[in-house]
Amino acid sequence: MSEHDTRVDAGAATSGADAATATPAVDAGSAVRPERRPRASTRRLLLTAAGLTVLAIAGTFLLDPYRNYQLALIAAYFCATAGLTLLIGLTGQLSLGHAALMAAGGYGYAITTNAATEAGIEGAARFGLGMLGAVAVSAALGLALGLAAARLRGPYLAGVTLVLVIALPAFAAVFAPVLGGDQGVRIAFDGVPEALRALIAVEQWQAWVAILVAAVCATALALVRHGRLGLRMRAGHGDETAARLAGVATGRVKVAAFAWSAVTAGAGGAVLCFVTQAVSPGAYTLAFSLLLVVAVVVGGLGSLGGAASGSAIIVLLPWAVGALTAALDLPADLGQRLNGNLAVLVFGAILIVVVAWRPAGLAGVARRAVDALARRRRPRSAAVPAGGPRPAASAPEPEASTEPEASTAPEASAPRTTEPTHIER
């Protein structure tokens, strides 16, 4: 057990505390015994999260209303992609159906909110109740899916979740009295609270709410990844048999991972519902579900920072492409056909290229750049001890490529997996 713990911890120590904490990955090779300071790094993580949140909220003052609306969308998508990136990156379970989980959260939020409105509850209490409803519904669905997922692998899970998204309109139609069929469920408008009304516009307020929810989700997920559960997810993904021998209940870990990612996806759906005042099956199509996958793959599987940048890309790129085609003054027919399709085409191509040539995504590129900077800044003699140019040079590889590449590049990750255990023996 202890062997296993330390081996995975070597990875967790560096990649666990996001790209923001520039723990030089070079150290992972030389520092054989990783330091165990869970409390200190938890505090650091919380501080980082708080800092980033304040930064994002301050940023809303620089943006016009439409940009703030886009920011709210990005934050809502980030809730879902953050969970998805951990699920795929740390446990290797591919879900193509996270849009359905977002929809579950959205419906949970809408139904609870409407019930609260009827009961005469308003304001923050209503929002809180709605979020609780969203979390409850998406957690229930996530648990059910997770139970199935624990028994399935790769393509089977992908297929089941794919069918789930495709079946979403059918569910909405069959349970039309509750879910409202194709029309979906509408909720009452939630304006800016009295105290802030003079200060900010409604879009900015929505961006604030979205950012706060996303911050809570991302922080919770970062803590999960950082803690015991995260370790066990990695262990089970790296070598399921070994993990089981070491006493990790891999099935239970998978269910927990799925439930966590479902809850944050549900929170994202709730935020979307809050922003758009409606939830309908038309908003959670298969195409949207695949976009979430694009976001996490392009961002870099397993990286929260990557999920954030991926979410920004899936919101901003279609808008940029749309603006571009509008500016080109194309014939109406062609413009209509390009509208929407061109962005999907670009996303598909990016997805293929990233998987084939840059499996670590944006996070990998960023980490490599940081490593290169760190290496350049440090005097050469100190950075590379006598016998160690090779491990030092190859160490950034496995760090840069987060989890899934543990299997794509076994030779690259070999030093990390074997070294600590050898020394311990």
Binding site: G154, L164, A167, F171, L290, G340, V355
Partner: protein, 292 residues
Amino acid sequence: MDRLLFLLATGLARGAVFALFALSLVLIWRAARIVNFAQGAMAVVACYVAFAATALSGSYWVGLAAAIAAGALTGFAVERGVMRFAPASAPLAGVIMAIGLVMVIQSALGIAFGPQARPMPAPFDTRPIVVGGVPVLSPYDLFVLLVALGVMAGLLVLFTRTSLGLQLRASALAPEVSRLLGVRVGRMLTIGWMLAAAVAGLAALLLVPTELGLTPHSADLLFVYAFTVAVVGGLDSPAGALIGGLVVGVVMTVVTGTLGATVAPIAVLVQLVTVLLVRPGGVFSAREVRAA
């Protein structure tokens, strides 16, 4: 009772096509250990080629031949141009690349042809024949059933009775040994993809006139059905694909006929989850565990 008989008969015809499409998934799975999520999109490319060929020549049969050829070409292009670059040791990479391919193909078709459905008439009558006062199969359904069963029989002969089939099976089962024995494993992989894509194109084309219609997304549902069939039958088992296809086809047709088309995806989901939870190896698979 009459209605049930009618549903059973049409269900068999649909099921045969599902089985054919599922068989194409099984072919690729056995050759490359990839569940090709792009199979539906690739088949739609073949259908658009068939549409263009039929429009140009005025003959359905030219279109049919063109679809098969285009399917094979698509398979070739996808294997050589995209899937060859999938990192071999990560099973998810292939799935994710296939999803990228779906997005590229569907949006490219959307840009080229627009979202509206193209009319694609059937070559035979689609009204059911009435036998003794009971409507049974339409001539077109009969044609579909015969073509699907014929192609499956042809594949069976190809794989069990020819040298090419032996090489295909050998390179799927033990690539290293086959290479030592002089089988061109890379070429066999490409041929496997071409074969599978051609079969998928044909299967999709058979369903386009009656139920799918021709849009960039028309094979999405067919893929979902076929995936279910492949899972029910066991991804490793061609015979399972046939039986699974017939079972799923009949179940889906009866469900659609009695409860309405909206429920169909839910029925698929229920079947899929039930089979995967109760018998993850597939109902008709002899294998113990599924190592995906």
